[in-house]
């Protein structure tokens, strides 16, 4: 049985593609046959973050419109066994995405024995985002500690609970909150919403907190998913998140300020 997981957020630029790449890579590293699909038709980027942009021949829309079959379009990752990328189209518009088309693609991946199908949603709540979540069993809701991102996440939760196949069948998409770009320093100084505050507002089970980290930019520069950087805090936090998703109990890390500042040491706190 394949498990379909959408990585979604509503708000743009919060880390969906970074997360999709890390998540799919982590699942494959742990031995699961994994496909990651870019639903951001017109603005494909997952190929760049995965470092396979020069190997794109066919894309999701080609498969949906019958111009290529799924095996021609899937790109096999060169570093990690069991990992496949299905890029989005850069030239076509999102109207080419149809529910039947997406269902056919997902069904053929299921037949191919994929354990996980990760859907990297575009921002917004339009067709691309709606279709990325429609067939999901699980949803990773990517949220930044920032007002507009939290509000948009709540909108997305409403859609997950009403506009998905599971919801239409009276079942529930499993929701997992992933907070990214977290700065313990700024939380400590009162300038950033704390993890606990976001949890209290959204009331969704927490699956991970990814710290703000320069290594994410470095990873995207070189086209290597950040989870492969075992020395970076973000890479380690993504690895913990994958383990939790697979059912392991792993304590949360990188939530506290690393070193006490001069003033705090002097005046307590």
């Amino acid at each position: 049985m394949s498990r379909i997981v959408v990585v979604t957020s509503g708000k743009g630029g919060v880390g969906k593609t970074t997360t999709s790449a890390a998540f799919a890579t982590g699942l494959a590293q742990k031995g699961f046959k994994t496909a990651v699909i870019d639903f951001d038709v017109g603005l494909r980027n997952l190929d760049l973050i995965m470092g396979c942009e020069r190997r794109v021949v066919y894309d999701l829309i080609n498969v949906i419109s019958g111009e290529a079959n799924i095996h021609q379009a899937l790109i096999k990752d060169k570093r990690v066994e069991n990992l496949f990328i299905l890029p989005a189209s850069q030239t076509r518009d999102k109207d080419a995405l149809t529910q039947e088309g997406v269902e056919a693609v997902i069904n053929s991946l299921k037949e191919d024995g994929f354990d996980f199908i990760v859907c990297d949603s575009p921002a917004g709540i339009e067709r691309g985002a709606a279709l990325a979540m429609y067939f999901a069993d699980d949803a990773i809701i990517v949220t930044n500690p920032e007002v507009s991102s939290v509000r948009d996440s709540d909108r997305i939760l409403g859609l997950l609970q009403s506009r998905t196949r599971k919801a239409e069948r009276g079942e529930q998409v499993r929701e997992h909150l992933l907070i990214t770009r977290y700065s313990p320093n700024r939380v400590a100084s009162g300038d950033m919403l704390a993890m606990e505050d976001i949890l209290e507002i959204l009331a969704v089970p927490l699956i991970g907190v990814i710290p703000e980290s320069g290594s994410v930019l470095q990873a995207s520069n070189s086209g290597v998913p950040v989870i492969m950087d075992k020395n970076s805090t973000a890479g380690q936090a993504y690895d913990d998140f994958v383990k939790r998703f697979l059912g392991e109990t792993v304590p949360h890390r990188f939530l506290e300020v690393e070193k006490k500042g001069f003033f705090k040491r002097l005046f307590g706190g």
Binding site: D154, I201, K264, L266
Partner: protein, 89 residues
């Protein structure tokens, strides 16, 4: 609390303000979202008007559809004022 924190705590921190604003906003938007389930009301009203007119001539404003929100369930209230009885009938 350290001396430094004492001075800083005079003014609410921006994260605290953010949290409070979000709590109010999201509670509001969630209840609005639930009411969305009732966006069929205008259509229901015009359908009812159509059915009634098969039997009796009523004016547009004689049909009133309202939803009363309760704690556990909502009540759909339907009020139709029939035309005045004239001796001609």
């Amino acid at each position: 609390m350290g001396l430094f924190d004492y001075f800083r705590s005079q003014k609410p921190k921006s994260a605290q303000v953010a949290k409070e604003r979000l709590q109010i906003l999201i509670a509001h938007e969630r209840s609005a979202g639930r009411e969305k389930g009732l966006d069929f009301l205008p259509q229901l009203r015009s359908d009812i008007l159509e059915v009634i007119r098969r039997y009796v001539q009523v004016d547009d404003d004689q049909v009133n559809v309202q939803v009363e929100k309760g704690a556990d369930y909502d009540v759909l209230e339907l009020n139709i004022t029939l035309p005045e009885r004239t001796s001609a009938h």
